[in-house]
Structures are given as C-alpha cells and as structure tokens.
C-alpha cells in the first residue's frame, strides 16, 4: 500500500516499523483489591519508579550533564515526600485503587503548583504531572518505548516528533521517520533534517494503518511511504537509495570550494542550528558561519529557566567551535507552537499573533537581560557573535532591545566582567510589517536576516501547520517575493548586510533571484550546505538577471514555481 504525505527530509529508508503510541492511562476498569493490597501495589510502583528514574538520571548525567539529571533526581525526592504518600494511602483507605490514589494526589499537587505566582515554582507542576503519568504507567503495566535502544533498521512511526523524544534517540539504528502531523517547516521536519534522516509527515492515521514490525519504505524526497512492499518495489527503492547516496557523494567536490558564482563573486554560506551540539556538524558540513542559532532548545526539555551560566556556556561553545566565523544568535522566540510551561505564557486564541518572541521578552526585561548578558559575555573572546531579534514589527522594539543591551553592557563593565563592546544587533525580518518598513528598520539595525518561513506564513495569512491551507504557503507567491526584494534593497541602500535563514535560502529555484537582488548571506540546514554551494556556482550574472526578470513577470505562485523549476533543472 502506498501512503502519501509531506516530503519533509530527503533520503530513502527501508526498514521495519516501531510505533510510538500515545498510551492510554484510563484506569476506570481497575478493580479495588482491598486496602492492604492496593497499598502494597502503590509501594511497589513507587519503588519501581525510583529505580527506573535513578537509572534514567544516570544515563542522562553521562550523556547530557548533571543539570538535566537533577530534574529526574528531584522527582524522586518529591515522590519521597512522606505526606504525599500518606495522602495517597488515605485515598486508598477511602476506597480508591492505587491508580486512583496516585492520580488524585498528583493532580492535586500539580494544580497547586500551577496556581502559584512564582515562576520557578510553577514549573514543578510539569514535574508532578510527569510523576503521575509514569507512576500510572507502572501500575497499569503500560511500557513505553526506549528510543535509545531501537533495533537496527527502525522506521519510527509517531503522532508527532517532539524535541524531548529525539534527545535520547539512537540515530544510527533509525532508517526513517513517519508522523501523523506536521508540515515541511514543522519541528518534526526540522529535527528530521538535522538528524539527516528521511522523513514523511502528515500521513493520516499512520498509527492505525501501520503495526509494529511491518515492512516500510520511506521516500522523504517524494513524501511517499510504502507499507509492506513486495520484493520488486523493495529493489526499486534500494536502487533509488543508492542513487541518492551517490548524488550526495557527488556534492563532496564543493566541500572545500569557496561560495562564489560563475563570475567569481563571493557570497556567505552559513548553517542554521538549533543547539550547541549541532555547531560541530555545521562546521563539518562546510558552512562558513552560523546564520541562525535558535536558542529555544536551551529553554525546552527542562523545568526552570536556564541561568546566565548555562546560557553563556552554550553560546560560548558555539562561538569557540566557529572561531573566526560569524555566529548569529536569535534571542528567545517562544509562543505559538513552542509554549514552555515554566515561562507562564498564557493560552491565547491566536498565539501566532499574540504575546510571543520579542514582545514577550521586552515585557520580561529581568528574564531577557539574562540572555543578553550571556550573549555579551560569550562574545568577549572571539568577537564573532551577532544578536538577532525575532518577530520585529516596529522600530520601537529594536530601540527597546538596544536600550536593554546597553544597560547590560554598563552592568558588566561595572562588575569588571569581559564582554563584546561592539556586538552587532540585528532584526529577523519575518513579518509583513518589518518588510514594509525595512528602510526605517535599517537605520536602527546592524544587519538583517530574512526568516522566510514566518514571512510566508504572515504575508499569506496561512497557518503552515494546517494541511488544508498549506498549498497557499509558498515562498514562490509573488507577494512573498516582492517582500523579500524590498527588504534586500532597503538593506543595500542603508549599507547593512542582509541574509536569509529560512527554507527558501536553499531552494534551487529561488537562489538565482536572491543572487540577483544582492543577498549577502545564505543560511541553510547543514544537510543543504553543499547543494546550495553547488547551485550558487552555476550562475553567471547575466543568467540570474534574465531568470529574475522572467519570474517577476509571472503573476501566480504556480507559474513562478513552474518556470523556475523548469529553468534550473535544465
């Protein structure tokens, strides 16, 4: 059976299904076996919880570090609270089964923590909910899947791929990824590409159609999944896999070449990264810098704010790895799809139009200044860090951020801490507002970077995660192209550098247009660095000028895309 989804990450993978199902923790059918029996069940479950959690903590301490392990050892301490246990025992005395007792008491504490006005304490609610779910799983004998111990040739099938799932993922044994939700620019897609694993997303009811152990083929380039393929199909795809691997190998000649067009004009080619650990892969991919370092990952998968030291260490590590090369770090971009419990972001009707990114940060100066100070300090040695503000819509936001930055500089100078006095401050151009006032923003910013994913979403007023309207979401839309052109020309007139860090920067069809308009820097995923360099090498100025004139003469996205694809594939 052939299933069609969204092509999210290139490559062909063949293997067997391992399904990650949302576990049902409904205990309404569990009988009450009497006070003593239920208390014994509860105690056994707590012992088991402690044992498993301690083992997880040990593993995380080795793999990630002591701070991450502390979250887990803290959970053991919380569950060891004698009063929490006595409350559970009282519930059992009152006629609840062990599951009911654990559920009621944990939920009561989670609600209590969720309701306090202290941000650091509110995060404990996440811990208690985690304790609840794991305790119930143990009591009910529901076993989760250990993603660090998957068999070789695994095709992972999940509803969604979350950052915390991929933390422990053993990449070597995964041949491909299938999810039920998400589009090309969802987090699942970004993560799959970062891991360089073939992925097809938005296969409806994948978890119903696919059973553990089913044979699967994932064609990430085409967005096709073949369920239980016959021998002939398998051999076809094996050939395709070989072909893909050869093409990838052919790009190797570009690894040590400079990024220049056919006339010898140079461009900067950078990589996008989402964690300090990815900097190494970016450096190895042939990237000449980091055009976008997303800092959200520092704030996710934990239960409290990362303090200045934790942040400093992450930024400093990337600055060091990329010594002599630029590193553009985007300040915290939260809200919408990336809510983080302990930040106390309220649920909103329209999170993408709500209190997020720079708006949230400017309202929380005490929190934002921790990040700015960490960035200023991290840049002291190599002087290669540039600070980028997300979701800018007006001049005041840049001014307010600059004022906070100046305050931080003053404080650091007073306490004698070294920092980068000349750190550059720029704006990510990803809203129609910013694109329209690019000339005004250029007077306030040291650089621009165009974020095409959000710029396309906001310009076209389309939710990129909604498969029903995703067809409108295209960077080939004339509205989006005109916006990009406007931003680049405003930057050129003001004499500031302008880059692009969205998916579009790696699109072979758009590369000639961006070259024509004078984009200085292309920032793409590590996996696309060599292919992008190869595309830039192809074009002479006279060619990209002609292609751009032709493309801008067309009035529909499909017309533009069709023309560009046909032209660049010649």
């Amino acid at each position: 059976m052939v299933l069609k989804g969204i092509n999210a990450s290139d490559g062909v993978g063949l293997g067997c299904a391992v399904c990650v199902r949302e576990e049902s923790l409904d205990y309404s059918d569990v009988p009450y076996s009497g006070k003593e029996a239920e208390k014994a069940r509860l105690q056994n479950a707590i012992d088991e919880f402690n044992q498993r959690t301690a083992a997880m903590a040990d593993r995380i301490r080795e793999q990630t570090g002591p701070k991450e392990a502390e979250i887990l050892t803290g959970q053991i301490t919380m569950l060891a609270d004698p009063f929490m246990l006595s409350q559970m025992q009282e519930a059992i005395d009152g006629g609840s089964c062990a599951e009911g007792a654990a559920d009621a008491v944990c939920t009561m504490y989670a609600d209590m923590f969720a309701g306090v006005d202290d941000e650091l304490m509110r995060q404990r609610a996440t811990d208690v909910r985690d304790i609840r779910a794991r305790l119930l799983s143990i009591l009910m004998g529901v076993t989760g899947i250990d993603l660090s111990a998957l068999p070789a040739g695994t095709i992972l099938v999940a509803h969604d791929l979350t950052p915390s799932m991929t933390v422990g993922l053993n990449k070597e044994n995964v041949a491909g990824i299938i999810t039920e939700t998400g589009g090309r620019t969802s987090h699942s897609a970004i993560l799959a590409r970062a891991l360089q694993l073939p992925a097809v997303l938005s296969i409806a009811k994948a978890l119903e159609l696919i059973k553990d152990g089913d044979g699967l083929i994932v064609d990430g380039g085409e967005g096709v999944v073949v369920l239980s393929p016959d021998a002939r199909t398998r051999s076809e795809y094996l050939a395709k896999q070989k072909d893909y691997q050869e093409k990838t190998a052919a790009l190797e000649v570009y690894r040590d070449k400079p990024t220049a067009d056919a006339d010898g004009k140079y461009y900067h080619l950078y990589a996008n990264i989402g964690s300090a650990a990815e900097a190494e892969a970016a450096a190895q991919s042939g990237a000449e810098g980091i055009g976008l370092f997303r800092t959200e990952f520092l704030f996710m998968d934990r239960t409290s704010l990362p303090d200045e030291t934790v942040q400093y260490e992450a930024y400093y590590a990337v600055s060091k790895t990329m010594a002599g090369k630029e590193v553009i770090i985007r300040t915290l971009d939260v809200g919408g799809d990336k809510a983080i419990d302990y930040l106390g972001l309220e649920k909103e009707e329209n999170p993408f139009l709500g209190h997020r990114a720079i708006r949230y940060c400017l309202d929380r100066p005490e929190l934002y200044k921790v990040q700015l100070r960490a960035l200023l300090r991290a840049g002291a040695e190599e002087q290669n860090i540039k600070i980028m503000l997300p979701l800018v819509t007006c001049v005041e936001e840049v001014r307010a951020a600059r004022e906070l930055l100046e305050q931080c500089k003053k404080e650091l100078a007073e306490s004698g801490v070294p920092y980068d006095k000349d750190i550059a401050l720029g704006a990510m151009i990803e809203t129609p507002a910013a694109a329209l006032i690019a000339d005004l923003l250029a007077q306030e910013c040291d650089f621009f970077s165009i974020g095409t994913n959000d710029l396309t979403q906001y310009t076209m007023a389309v939710d990129r995660g909604n498969a029903k309207v995703e067809k409108l979401y295209s960077p080939f839309q004339p509205a989006v192209l005109r916006s990009i052109r406007n931003v680049i020309s405003a930057a050129k007139r003001a004499g500031i550098p302008v880059g692009m860090c969205g998916e579009a920067a790696a699109d072979p069809g758009l590369i000639p247009l961006l070259m024509c308009w004078g984009l200085d820097e292309f920032s793409v995923s590590s996996a696309s660095v060599l292919a992008t360099r190869a595309q830039i090498h192809r074009w002479h100025e006279k060619d990209f000028r002609r292609i751009t004139d032709e493309a801008l003469g067309l009035s529909t996205a499909s017309g533009v895309e069709g023309y560009l694809k046909a032209t660049v594939n010649k």
Binding site: G74, M78, D117, D118, L120, M121
Partner: protein, 88 residues
Amino acid sequence: MVSKTVKVINPQGLHMRPAQLFVAEMGKYDSTVTIIFGEKTINAKSIMNLMASCIKMDSEIEIRCEGAQEAEALDAAVKLVESGLGDL
C-alpha cells in the same frame, strides 16, 4: 513549643534544592516542624508543601517546633536558613 522568626536569604527562595536540604535535615528530629509564612501554616517536613508555599528571598518566616527534641530541631532549622541552605 519553641519558635523563632528568621529571614530567608537565598536568592531564589526555597526552591527545590534548598527545600530538599531543609526537609532532609528536619526529618532527623522527632518533633513536629511548622513554618508560619504570612497566612500560611506549612508542614516543614513535606517538600511538596514547602515548595508550593513559594517562600522567596527576604521573606520573614516563623519556625515552630513541638515535641521531643524541639530545641535541637529549632536550633538546626534556624542555622540552616541563616546559612542560606547551601545556596550561598
């Protein structure tokens, strides 16, 4: 019953680590240990209750101990809070 009012000097208040230390120490004594913080009366041998009361830096708290070893328990509690509970 013995009691004493002390000031919390931890920069982040009684969060996980200091609360853990405090509860572990108080568990060694047979007396009850209660903290009066504003309107709240907190059982100081329960880490969950202690954390959920959000005792912040510069807060004044009254520690009350009652029962066997009450003097020793109070003495230990006061020393711990005044020393910054390992956070300084």
